[in-house]
């Protein structure tokens, strides 16, 4: 008598799996990477490569020699995502060794310490970025100006980001309408012809990636939309109150890392809530914190901190906000 496989139902499975999801995110990041390479040239490509290679390598080494596991989780693509996002969150001119240290913190401390993919409470790339921001404050806030397809690796011309221009100017007592002359046009900000972190510059490329992920059912609309909408409404109210003191909401959507944060960082499955209701609140919290930091905080940009703080709140959201139950009271 032959023997048959016995297992509980269901006997079929959706085509989606962890690897496909993670590599899907990698594909979704490619448009933004291409735009960066175009506007910042060779340094952008090199910085990204260093980040990706060191993230994957650190994960491999930790898995192999500390966990002593034969399982190779680097195939799942999540370390590649961390590398890409880490590179996207730094200036393209960052010294290579700082990038390597940032990768070690992201993968080693923020991810593998907790047990690897799925176990980490905080977004690894953001932990790496914030670590670098605190450790290397000068290099992390020296923003190269765009120079399309440049191959120059040293003596890069630098300048402040749009958010930096507005924040500093306002502190000096200038008005928004005066400052807006120094800020790139919204069209440039939309396509990415602006200074800033490597991968955050082009709202267009990031939105394209986001649409791809929505289409592939890797993310849902809940976090990005509630995050972006909150920032829009909050800054919109402030702008209506005093347009000379607060920049308009479109500026806030296009400037800095909001799009990258809302579409790629806040949507990280591992560190965001599991049900849609809680996700909307998560996005709302990210939005409020981002605006608070941007306008009243010490830093010109608050996306990283906002998401990290909401990462910490995620377990509470999961515990307190329950999905609607069928036949429940």
């Amino acid at each position: 008598m032959s023997t048959y496989v016995l297992s509980g139902s269901p006997h079929v499975h959706d085509k989606q799996d962890v690897n496909k999801i993670m590599w899907g995110v990698v594909y979704a990041l490619i448009p933004a990477l291409l735009v960066s390479i175009y506007f910042f040239g060779l340094p952008a490509l090199l910085t990204t490569l260093i980040a990706v290679v060191s993230c994957v390598l650190f994960e491999y080494l930790i898995q192999r020699f500390i966990f002593k596991s034969t399982e190779l989780t680097i195939k799942d693509g999540s370390a590649v995502i961390t590398g890409l996002l880490l590179a996207f969150n730094v200036p393209s001119s960052l010294p290579w060794w700082q990038m390597v240290i940032g990768s070690l913190v992201a993968i080693g401390i923020a991810k593998m310490t907790f047990g690897g993919l799925g176990k980490n409470p905080f977004n690894p790339a953001l932990v790496g970025r914030v670590f670098m921001l605190i450790s290397f404050p000068v290099e992390m806030t020296t923003w190269p100006k765009v120079s399309p397809l440049s191959t120059q690796l040293t003596d890069i011309v630098t300048g402040p980001t749009s958010l930096g221009i507005v924040k500093e100017g306002l502190m000096k007592g200038e008005t928004v309408s005066q400052l807006m002359h120094n800020v790139p046009s919204y069209t440039d900000m939309f396509i990415g012809n602006i200074g800033g972190s490597l991968g955050e510059i082009s709202a267009l490329a990031i939105i394209l990636g986001g649409i791809y992920m929505l289409f592939k059912k890797i993310i849902t609309w809940h976090i990005p939309i509630s995050y972006i909408l909150t920032v829009f409404v909050f800054t919109g109210i402030l702008w209506l109150i005093n347009p000379e003191k607060y920049a308009d909401p479109i500026f806030h959507l296009l400037a800095g890392g909001l799009m990258l944060g809302a579409i790629f960082m806040a949507t990280d499955m591992v560190t965001s809530p599991i049900n849609h209701k809680a996700q909307i609140i998560f996005g709302l919290g990210c939005g409020v914190l981002t605006v608070l930091i941007r306008i009243w905080g010490a830093y010109p940009e608050g996306v990283s901190f906002a998401i990290l703080i909401m990462n910490a709140v995620t377990p509470i959201l999961n515990r307190t906000i329950k999905p609607k139950r069928f036949g429940g009271k």
Binding site: H11, Q16, R325
Partner: protein, 444 residues
């Protein structure tokens, strides 16, 4: 198509695989021996009333359902009782069965030939329920709950709608689909009988939109029958689940832990309606049923099979098992049971037999949960499968109960969709068992 309804919460869209939808129902020849399990319905096993060596006729009562929830069992063939012994069934365990060596059919007296349509309902409400009980009719959608119990409306409750389940949302299965196409008129008369039994003047047949021909056919036929309406449904699994179907058709939510009658509904499957028609109009007990046999790259079909026929006979009829067969499933791929052997007989609840080759027989590798929340968004009961999995893993039974683990209908949507391949439903089943045990021990 306009006006398709569905349930709002959760659900998945597995590949349909309805390969046998165009294959007419064929009569499977009677095998040499039948193996009729004494436990074919939900509730207590039936008690045999025949002995080894007895000669029985087709349709003769051979085991009585004595408990409140239990059903009579009739001989599906004419022949001699070879023995009453243990035989493997779909659960994988050996259980008591009546084994009969078959001879040419000789029908029990009183069972009328079923070749002519009989639309006149002469029995009263009570007589109908009594007849259904006598003839051993059970829910044929797979749950096998004794139909007479379901039709006996508890004191103080009133049914408003009879819901007829023609959804067949399980992939591959087409037995209900074929029955609706080929026995439409009979089903409609069966529905009228059921309407009389539960005293309602409104019945709604729910059919998913992948069976447009059945929707059209029954809509046309139902014009003649008062109070029967056909409603098309959007494709979504698990729409055939009782609570989801009621929600989709009449927008009422059966409260947690309660039965459909709580919201004035009684749900019956189309196959059951057909069996009721045959029992009430012709005295015919439930001794055969339509079974789909199917699989990817398997030349399957839909067969009218005598209860107790080993599935081997069905498989042989379709040219035998392909060489790389590794899994055989009793039922659909979402909720069916993997079988141990092809000796397992067809019972009243067997809607299909699936033959899976090696590439479809194994589960994907298990990863860490990535907290994507897909299991939560597809759960049609609004539960959090990932949370329940963790709770069960940690043996936190009270917490499991508090998180409504018993609401789970075991549709498998969570595990189907989990990109990390986690054994969510396996763990939830385990937890449900444990929590049920605890609740029972509390009552003592």
């Amino acid at each position: 198509m306009i006006g398709l309804k569905t349930f709002p919460l959760g659900g998945v869209h597995p590949e349909e695989g309805k390969y046998t939808a165009k294959k007419s129902i064929e009569i499977l020849p009677i095998p040499e021996s039948v193996y009729i399990p004494l436990s074919q319905s939900l509730g207590a096993p039936s008690v045999p009333i025949v002995n080894k060596g007895d000669r029985v006729k087709t349709g003769q009562l051979i085991a009585k359902g004595e408990a409140f929830i239990s059903a009579n069992i009739h001989s599906s063939v004419t022949g001699v009782v070879e023995k009453i012994d243990e035989w493997i069934d779909a659960s994988g365990y050996r259980k008591k069965a009546i084994i009969i060596k078959t001879e040419p059919d000789e029908w029990e007296e009183g069972i009328l030939p079923q070749n002519q349509l009989n639309p006149t309902i002469v029995l009263s409400k009570e007589e109908i329920i009594q007849r259904i009980k006598e003839k051993g009719i059970v829910g044929m959608g797979g749950a096998t709950f004794p139909t007479h119990v379901k039709l006996s409306i508890p004191q103080g409750k009133k049914a408003e709608y009879l819901i007829i389940n023609g959804v067949e949302c399980e992939p591959y299965l087409t037995s209900d689909h074929r029955l609706m196409l080929e026995k439409g008129e009979e089903i409609l008369i069966g529905i009228q009988i059921l309407m009389k039994a539960v005293d309602v003047n409104k019945a709604i047949i729910g059919i998913e939109a992948n069976k447009l021909d059945a929707i059209e056919h029954l809509t046309k036929l139902s014009a003649k029958y008062q109070g029967i309406e056909v409603q098309g449904l959007k494709l979504k699994y698990p729409q055939g689940a009782e609570k989801q179907l009621i929600k989709a058709l009449v927008n009422r939510e059966v409260p947690s832990g309660k039965l459909p009658i709580e919201v004035g509904c009684v749900v019956q499957n189309v196959g059951t309606a057909f069996a009721v028609y045959e029992a009430v109009q012709f005295n015919k007990p439930l001794i055969d049923r339509v079974v789909t046999i199917s699989g990817k790259n398997f030349n399957g079909g839909n067969f009218l099979v005598r209860i107790g026929t080993p599935i081997k006979a069905l498989i042989d009829k379709c040219g035998g098992l392909p060489e790389n067969t590794e899994k055989i499933i009793n039922g659909g791929p979402m909720m069916g049971k993997a079988l141990v052997s092809t000796d397992v007989p067809v019972t009243k609840g067997t809607s299909g037999i699936l033959v899976f080759t090696s590439e479809m027989s194994h589960r994907m590798p298990v990863y860490n949960c990535i907290r994507c929340g897909k299991c939560v968004s597809v759960c049609p009961m609004g539960l959090e499968p990932i949370l329940l999995e963790k709770i069960v893993e940690n043996n936190k039974w009270e917490m499991a109960e508090k998180e409504h683990i018993l609401d789970c209908i075991e549709c498998g949507s969570c595990q189907y969709t989990c990109p990390a391949g986690r054994p969510l439903l396996d763990m939830i089943r385990l937890g449900k068992n444990k929590v049920n045990q605890i609740i029972r021990s509390r009552g003592k």
